[in-house]
Symmetry: C2
Subunit: 227 residues, 2 copies
DNA sequence: TGTTTATTTAACTCGTCGGTTCATTTGGAG
DNA sequence: CTCCAAATGAACCGACGAGTTAAATAAACA
């Protein structure tokens, strides 16, 4: 339609401005880390000015914290899009693994923020009260899948949902977080598109194997959603 | 008392001073990251002064690089201490997994440096020519184990040594690198001593299962060396 | 001992960057 | 139109910290 090309006057839309800043800051923080990120550079990525960054977020740390919270919320929200409740437990678990692998791969910025937060001892996430139960759904889903899998006689009796989650996370996070050092030390074969496919298949197979009762066949992989 | 408050004389021992600085810097960098580490604080941990840091290492980046190289060398050196060549392939692999898990756990500073390097895109390790072949022994060892395992009919025909290494690393690195965020989000049960033992056992079992031919029993875990 | 050179110290420089001040503009409500 | 509060811009400040200067002192060796 006929947009006013020249914003000779701005509309009051603080939320949009804040969102703009948040997005810019996420990139900048993810790229450079907390201390190397420059507020000036963040501002440069936005439609607004450095002054406004401090206007809407009190200081750099608060901004970083907002970015972290926002990124967590978004990524965890994305996880809810996986619908597996009507599938057989083994298929459901398999898809969950593949989905998580892809999802992390599709969100490298988030992974970097998590790395940064770990380096900083989790100092900033501790103020975020909502965080603990943003993460619950993932484990609850795994819990349901495990219960169903055991009930169906497909899974080992001693499956431990949180441990499975740990293993899925380990592979999916490591894949993104340590890409650089791993490639440099051992070559890039896993970090081509086909390499990633193979890796995902192997990770999936490995975890499935550890969960299924001995002898239970692994479901044929349904080629699944690429993120 | 009128004693010589300052040591009036010192011995010329540049190597010791450099090593002192290197150790202090490693702690400081591991704790705070590259940009948040303060040269002044590094100096404070040494017996010498800030000036000397610049005297022996030209600047902060060069010092960081020296630290990284030193840490890599030390950790990779430590890996050579594992002697498994005379063991059966399955037992050897199992011990390698357990050893790696423990070894990483015992070297959190190293892991943090690796995280930092990943965040910085590997910019500093690229100048280190020796790095690629510091890492070879680990994969070569795995290679030998795999060949022996296949030859003995214990391992699957399609084992891929580097992929196994990837999986061992993923678990061992994630365990240390993401301890903080994982505990905060999902509780600390895996990060007690007994929790770590259980986790290591599960990681080991999982990877063994993915390597062994279907039906092959996993060796009884020999309680192994704690790092 | 004397001379040279490596090592050390304290004080200083100076750019960078988070954060602020203050004046101005704009939108909106009455 | 008028007034107020929200929003914005430009210029500024101050501290923090990497890296330097220059002079002092001890070691090494003749």
């Amino acid at each position: 339609m006929n947009e006013p090309v020249k914003p000779r006057s701005w509309k009051q839309n603080p939320e949009a401005v804040k969102a703009d800043i948040l997005a810019a800051a996420r990139q900048e923080f993810a790229e450079h880390g907390l201390s190397r990120a420059r507020v000036q550079d963040i501002a440069a990525r936005t439609k607004t000015s450095k002054r406004m960054v401090f206007y809407y977020f009190k200081d750099k740390e608060a901004l970083y914290q907002a970015v972290l919270e926002d990124a967590y919320a978004e990524v965890r929200q994305g996880e809810l899009e996986l619908k597996v409740d009507d599938l057989a437990p083994d298929v459901a678990l398999q898809r969950l693994i593949q989905f998580t692998f892809d999802h992390h791969r599709a969100n490298p910025d988030f992974i970097r923020l998590v790395m940064i937060e770990n380096i900083h001892g989790g100092r900033h996430m501790q103020d975020m009260a909502e965080m603990p139960h943003m993460n619950k759904p993932a484990v609850l889903l795994l819990d349901r899948i495990c219960k169903a899998g055991v009930a169906a006689g497909l899974f080992r009796e001693d499956v431990h949902p949180l441990r499975i989650h740990w293993q899925i996370s380990a592979a999916s996070v490591f894949n993104v977080a340590n890409r650089i050092t791993f490639s440099y030390n051992f070559g890039t074969e896993f970090y081509t598109d086909t390499g990633q496919d193979a890796l995902r298949a192997e990770v999936t197979r490995t975890i499935m194997l550890s969960v299924l009762k001995p002898g239970t066949p692994i479901p044929q992989t349904p080629c699944s959603d690429r993120a």
